[in-house]
Amino acid sequence: MDRRTLLPASVVALLVVITFWVLPSVDSSVAVDDPIKAGDVVQVGQGVEFDPAVGWNLESGLRAGTATSGTYPDSAKLTKDGVTLTVTTGEFDGTATALLAQLRRNNAKLGPNALDLQSGTAATFRTAGEITGVVARFSTTTAEGLLGALVSDGQGIEVTVYGPAAMASDRHLENQVVAMLESVRLVHGDAS
């Protein structure tokens, strides 16, 4: 090798090693440790919030009133004992049933990675904040969960829950998920 080229090549190779391997490895080794405490409220986007269950881990997303930039991510993710609950919001001009159909269409486009969402029968429910939603259960050989769709004032809300196949048999977990689902509401007034 041409010796003059070794130092700049090494500098760039080191940069690649740090960004490609070192930083992602450090990231993987540090677990998210942000447990929900009593009274915490999670805000999704500028217009939706819900009451997360105590003890769940806030993997991504922000608690209401904590966004110093004034911007809340459009999605929040909570986990507990292998179960993941994700709440996503966006504009939607239609009914909760139409939103659920849209979510199923989106899922179907995933091809081999798609979940079997067609099997679940949709049931209607109403949250404490008077938002009408529909929810459908789904299951695979290794996982099960539910897909919820809520719409109010042009605001669509998607709630996805999935976890190990035995998830539904854990009544405590099931009750926590239902409580979170029913606590979904629109933020009125200042969204900060």
Partner: protein, 391 residues
């Protein structure tokens, strides 16, 4: 008589020195198996291309239409800025293959091999170690400027050692950096457009992508292209070349300026603490500051190239091929060239062609190392063909 000969000899020596210093007309050899920089360059781009193909294969079945629309829009955008960046490189122009290599590094090496992994990991770590609010507000601003400017600057550094006889001046670094930034900008914009296709539950993926595309088009001209140009010039100053002595202070200031502009740009809502008016004021101020810094650095770095053009073409004034005012225009700024053309009044077309032909002659002289070749003779004949006296 002897004084005239001495002057001619001195002018020709100055020409030879200019050609040797700035590497005028030199070509890039891509067959350098002993060049470690070339291997790193190729490996990083190869991974980036593989990553791109994998991503497109995954995304195309879901977001094929927005992907196609974004690719077309940003390809047109790339053509516009390719022309602009080529246009400002008007002295010892960078060869096409080097510009393409810089663009490809920016688009595939810097983005997929370095930036996306580093940015993602850093933002996650900010969330875990400092807090999710901090990561949402400051994560992008404290990750992207450092990771992305390093990634793009790495391309300029590698190309300096792949083409050491071509990249000789800070202005060369400025231009090559701009092409790296252009490649990065285009691919990043397409990625942003695709990511936004899933917004609002993918009801209108094309509309969501177009919305993002318009925002990126409106702000792109002062972001990656400009930042990378500053970093490129800074790296040439930091490394030093035959034509550009090492100036560590100046190099550090240029790289730091690019990082600072990028940081403020990515953190405007956090700095403004969500205040919309302050955010807009900050964005406007950042654009103005970025343009002012870029113009200053352009004038700071272009001097070496203009002096080289003057040294290269001064013998042509002495032998009567071009006039002194043409040399002033040729080695001058945009204003001086425009003044030369306008001074011709009804002869502007001839004057424009004369300048282009004189530039071609400069390139041929650079390629031949100042030796009179058939191509040099042809370039001279073209100049004569565009003389004011010609029909």
């Amino acid at each position: 008589m002897s004084t005239t000969s001495t002057n001619e000899t001195e002018l020709l020596q100055a020409r030879d020195a200019a050609i040797a210093d700035v590497g005028w007309g030199q070509k890039v050899s891509w067959l350098q198996p002993r060049n470690a920089c070339l291997w790193v360059f190729v490996a990083a781009i190869a991974y980036g291309l593989w990553y791109t193909v994998s991503t497109v294969r995954t995304e195309a079945p879901i977001y094929g239409t927005p992907l196609g629309v974004a690719a077309i829009i940003f390809s047109l955008y790339a053509v516009l800025f390719w022309w602009f960046t080529t246009h400002i490189d008007r002295y010892s122009r960078q060869p096409l293959d080097l510009r393409v290599a810089a663009f490809v590094w920016g688009g595939f090496g810097a983005t997929w091999t370095i930036a996306i992994h580093g940015n993602t990991a850093l933002i996650h770590l900010y969330a875990k170690l400092v807090g999710p609010d901090f990561a949402v507000a400051w994560g992008a601003g404290l990750a992207a400027p450092f990771v992305e400017e390093s990634a793009k600057g790495a391309g300029v550094l590698l190309l300096m050692f792949i083409a050491p006889r071509v990249i000789r001046t800070a202005f060369d670094g400025f231009v090559i950096g701009a092409f790296v930034g252009l490649g990065f900008e285009i691919i990043e914009d397409i990625l942003y457009a695709i990511n936004s296709a899933s917004a609002n539950f993918s009801v209108d993926p094309v509309g969501s992508s177009l919305h993002t595309a318009v925002l990126r088009l409106a702000t792109g001209f002062t972001s990656h292209i400009l930042y990378s140009a500053l970093v490129g010039a800074g790296i040439v100053y930091l490394v030093g070349t035959v034509a550009e002595k090492r100036r560590i202070g100046r190099g550090v200031v240029l790289v730091a300026a690019a990082v600072a502009l990028h940081l403020v740009w990515d953190s405007t809502t956090a700095i403004a603490q969500g205040n919309g008016v302050i955010t807009i004021v900050l964005l406007v101020l950042t654009v103005v500051a970025a343009l002012a810094i870029a113009v200053t650095v352009f004038h700071l770095t272009v001097g070496t190239e203009r002096e080289a053009m003057r040294d290269l073409m001064s013998p042509e004034v002495a032998n009567g091929t071009i006039a002194a005012e043409e040399l002033d225009a040729l080695a001058g700024s945009h204003k001086e060239r425009r003044a030369y053309r306008r001074a011709g009044r009804g002869d502007r077309r001839h004057r424009r062609h004369r300048l282009e032909a004189a530039h071609d002659l400069a390139d041929e002289l650079g390629r031949s190392g100042g030796v009179e070749t058939d191509r040099v003779a042809y370039a001279r004949s073209e100049l004569a063909r565009h003389s004011p006296a010609a029909p």
